[in-house]
């Protein structure tokens, strides 16, 4: 059903990488033939009732790869059945919707069981199995709406309507309503439902499973299903057929999955879908506060873990980034004079040029795009499957480093040149001058900038959700998608983000004043008679490094 055109651009990009990789790499293949072969399945884990994230293994949920959460839903039930029948070890990989096809193409996952409709566009990029679900299109309205009694889509004329971005619900079905007031599309199913609940729109167009599970969260909604009526949406099978996709040319896996699907029929699918919908949390309380408590009760630990991951990535990456930034900034600020040997000048010129390219490249491209490029690109181009953790730390550190390098270069240049001359005049070398005099002063001066960067990193780690890092934002999207409690989940997470950034900024402010030392000094006392050196008492012992 979802039909993202963005995915196409990303896919062309990855197709390019794959083309490169074919000319470059000799692939090492089939490492583990000893144990059961793994069946890596990609899905969003945030698209109920097809797939969602939950904190425990209730109702037969499956652990998510490199996460402590579990996945459940129609797709998970189907994935389990296929893995069982084919005697494979199932691994569920949580991926952003936009990353699904690239992940499949790069070989990060073997198959996508993600509620994808078999659109023509998508068929160009992946191979589809036979459908494993048929999703009819329905309309959701508020039960007290004047449209609640509609008998066909012509009764809905002049209604304001929306749906989810880049889906055929929005692109093909919705415009069929006569004189419809088509509002801009919503980013996800949860935001679309939140818009209907807030009465920003009269109706939303979606499919039956989504509508059914929405009723669990929004008791005030009503489903209008015009199936069998002539006055209904006219949608091709291509759109309503939901199928599993495999990498283009992977006929072996495709045929294996088809043999499993052949043993089931439409009734089996509907039964499994109902099973999934009832497994989805259906006991949501009604009031806002109670829902917040309900979410915190069920998913509080998930939020905490997400916050922990966010803080870990932000802190470690800010520190690593500062180290990179200092190294680069110090080199960039190294002066050359024409009295230096020519080799030193040429070498320094080349190093500076490379560092300059690094800084400009990473500052000049979005971190989200870099994340996709590095994470999936490394798998496709070099057959190097870097762990999501490594990728996360790497991307944020290298970005922070690029920003810090410029700050630090500027910070070094802004230190009074007299400090360098003072150090030179007592015979210190350039390196000693940097380490003991310039860098400590630069560090103090740019500390506000470092704390700024930490706060930016706490917030910006959310872009890592595109590669499936289980940081706070990603966790929240999963919870919002699982329960259709968009507003409540994001109320919680905005509070968490604020607490994190506010605490960090206070701690760093405290560190700043700590570094400045006391405002006044104590005169050292001396024994009135003994004027010999070394009899002064110090209020604090001087540090050797002079920092």
């Amino acid at each position: 059903m979802k039909n993202y055109y963005k995915t196409k651009i990303i896919s062309i990009f990855f197709a390019f990488i794959i083309f490169l990789s074919n000319t470059l790499t000799v692939f090492a293949s089939d490492i583990d033939n000893n144990a059961k072969k793994t069946f890596r399945v990609g899905m969003e884990c945030g698209y109920a009732p097809y797939n969602w994230t939950q904190p425990n293994n209730k109702n037969g949920a499956v652990p998510i790869f490199e996460s402590s959460d579990y996945a459940n839903g129609y797709d998970v039930i189907m994935a389990k059945r296929i893995a069982d029948e084919l005697n494979l070890k199932l691994e569920i990989v949580k991926l952003d919707w936009d990353s699904l096809v690239p992940a499949l193409q790069s070989g990060t996952v073997d198959a996508l069981i993600a509620g994808q409709s078999t659109t023509a566009n998508r068929k160009k990029m992946v191979d589809f199995t036979e459908p494993y679900y048929y999703a009819s299109v329905v309309v959701l309205v508020n039960a007290d709406s004047k449209f609640a009694k509609a008998k066909g889509i012509s009764d809905l004329s002049h209604a304001s309507a929306t749906s989810q971005l880049n889906t055929f619900w929005y692109d093909i079905a919705l415009p069929q309503i006569p004189n419809v007031n088509k509002l801009s599309a919503q980013e996800s199913a949860s935001t679309m439902l939140a818009a209907l609940d807030a009465k920003k729109v009269d109706l939303v167009v979606t499919d039956l499973p989504t509508a059914k599970s929405a009723l669990a969260a929004y008791k005030n909604f009503k489903i209008l299903d015009f199936t069998g009526n002539n006055d209904n949406f006219h949608i091709s099978n291509e759109e309503t057929n939901i199928a599993i996709s495999v990498k283009k040319g992977d006929t072996e896996l495709k045929n294996a999955i088809n043999t499993v699907l052949a043993k089931m029929d439409k009734n089996d699918y509907d039964r499994i879908m109902d099973q999934a919908i009832s497994a989805q949390a259906s006991t949501l309380p009604n009031s806002f506060i109670q829902r917040i408590i309900y979410i915190l009760d069920g998913y509080g630990f998930s939020f905490l873990r997400g916050a922990g991951v966010t803080m870990l990535i932000a802190l470690v990456s800010t520190i690593l980034g500062c180290i990179i930034g200092f190294a680069v900034g110090v080199i960039q600020a190294t002066p050359t004079s024409k009295h230096d040997p020519i080799i030193k000048r040429v070498l320094l010129f080349i190093i500076k040029l490379i560092l300059n390219i690094y800084v400009e490249f990473f500052r000049g491209t979005p971190m989200m795009v870099q994340a996709m490029f590095i994470y999936f690109g490394s798998a496709a181009l070099f057959n190097f499957n870097m762990s999501m953790w490594f990728a996360s730390f790497f991307i944020v550190s290298i970005n922070t480093g690029a920003y810090m390098a410029e700050t630090i270069r500027g910070g070094i240049l802004s230190i009074d040149p007299g400090q360098v001359e003072g150090a030179k005049a007592i015979g210190m070398t350039h390196v000693q001058t940097m380490i003991y005099v310039i860098i400590p002063q630069t560090f103090r001066n740019i500390l506000p900038q470092i704390s700024n960067n930490l706060i930016i990193n706490i917030k910006d780690t959310c872009v890592l959700s595109v590669i499936g890092t289980v940081e706070l934002f990603y966790v929240t999207k999963g919870i919002a998608g699982a329960l259709y409690t968009y507003f409540e989940s994001f109320t919680i997470v905005i509070a968490i983000y604020f607490i994190l950034t506010f605490t960090c900024s206070k701690i760093l402010r405290h560190l700043e004043s700590k570094l400045d030392g006391p405002d006044n000094y104590d005169l050292a006392t001396t024994d009135t008679l003994a004027h010999t050196s070394g009899l002064y008492k110090y209020s604090e012992s001087p540090k050797e490094e002079g920092l």
Binding site: S337, H339, D340, D416, G418, Q419, E421, G422, A423, K424, A425, I426, G427, M428, T429, Q432, Y436, V437, P440, Q441, R444, G517, N520, Y521, D522, L523, A524, T525, T526, H531, S533, G534, Y536, Y538, S539, E540, P542, K543, E544, G546, L547
Partner: protein, 252 residues
């Protein structure tokens, strides 16, 4: 101090010149500094006094000419620049104390990192020289907490703690209030009496007359006249010197 034997010469400046871009700032400078000499360089603003001092310390690189330190040519040998500077220290008009360190640390860092002395010895030494300039009680203060005169005395102690052969001073008192000037000049007088070799750029004529045993008068990048204060101040030969000193005598 009239002993001119070769082995007594610490610094020998030969045909030194310096151009910035196309501007010649120093032109064929020649003079010698003997052990325990106090050489005062005087001259009007822009005459190149600071540039000369900075060339001697290699903070600026001479365009041509030679600087011999204990007979060794030092401008051609870049590698020993740092160790040369630890022997020929410099005190600046703007003190240039390390802002990130306490007074004690300022006086210790060079000893530890450059001379590789251990912490205890460095500390004792630092305090010895801080006592000498009357700043020992301030060891725990940071530079920003002190007055200009105090900072300059600490800068002198920092340079002394390196136990240099020669100490260069570039207008050490011109950033100071009149009442602080004497504190610093008294310290310098004391050092002169103890036999420290010093080259001092100064506008304090009374001090120069009193302390120096050699006066160098510069104008337009040249050394116009050089000699003992009793000659230069009493009986200047060059009209430029007369003119310059005339202003000083009138001021007194």
């Amino acid at each position: 101090m009239d002993n001119n034997t070769e082995n007594n010469i610490v610094l020998e400046i030969k045909h030194l010149s310096k151009t910035f871009g196309k501007n010649p700032i120093l032109k064929d400078i020649n003079f010698n500094v003997h052990k325990s000499d106090v050489t005062c360089i005087i001259g009007s603003s822009g005459s190149g006094k600071s540039t000369l001092l900075r060339c001697i310390n290699l903070l600026e690189f001479p365009t041509s000419g030679e600087i011999l330190y204990n007979g060794d040519e030092i401008t051609s040998n870049k590698t020993n620049e740092a160790s040369y500077r630890s022997k020929v220290g410099m005190v600046f008009q703007n003190f240039n104390l390390f802002n990130n360190m306490t007074i004690l640390q300022n006086c210790m860092i060079g000893q530890i990192k450059v001379l590789k002395k251990d912490v205890e010895t460095s500390k004792k030494n630092a305090i010895y020289y801080l006592e000498k300039v009357g700043m020992a009680p301030y060891i725990n203060a940071k530079p920003r907490q002190l007055s200009g005169g105090q900072k300059q005395r600490i800068a002198i102690a920092r340079a002394l703690a390196m136990e240099p052969d020669v100490l260069l001073f570039d207008e050490p008192t011109s950033a100071l209030d009149p009442q602080m000037v004497n504190d610093v000049l008294n310290v310098m007088k004391k050092l002169a009496n103890e036999g420290l070799t010093m080259i001092i750029v100064t506008h304090e004529m009374a001090f120069a007359k009193d302390v120096a045993n050699n006066i160098i008068f510069m104008a337009n990048g040249f050394i116009v006249e050089e000699g003992h204060p009793s000659e230069i101040f009493v009986n200047p030969k060059n009209p430029l010197t007369k003119d310059f000193l005339g202003r000083f005598i009138n001021n007194e």
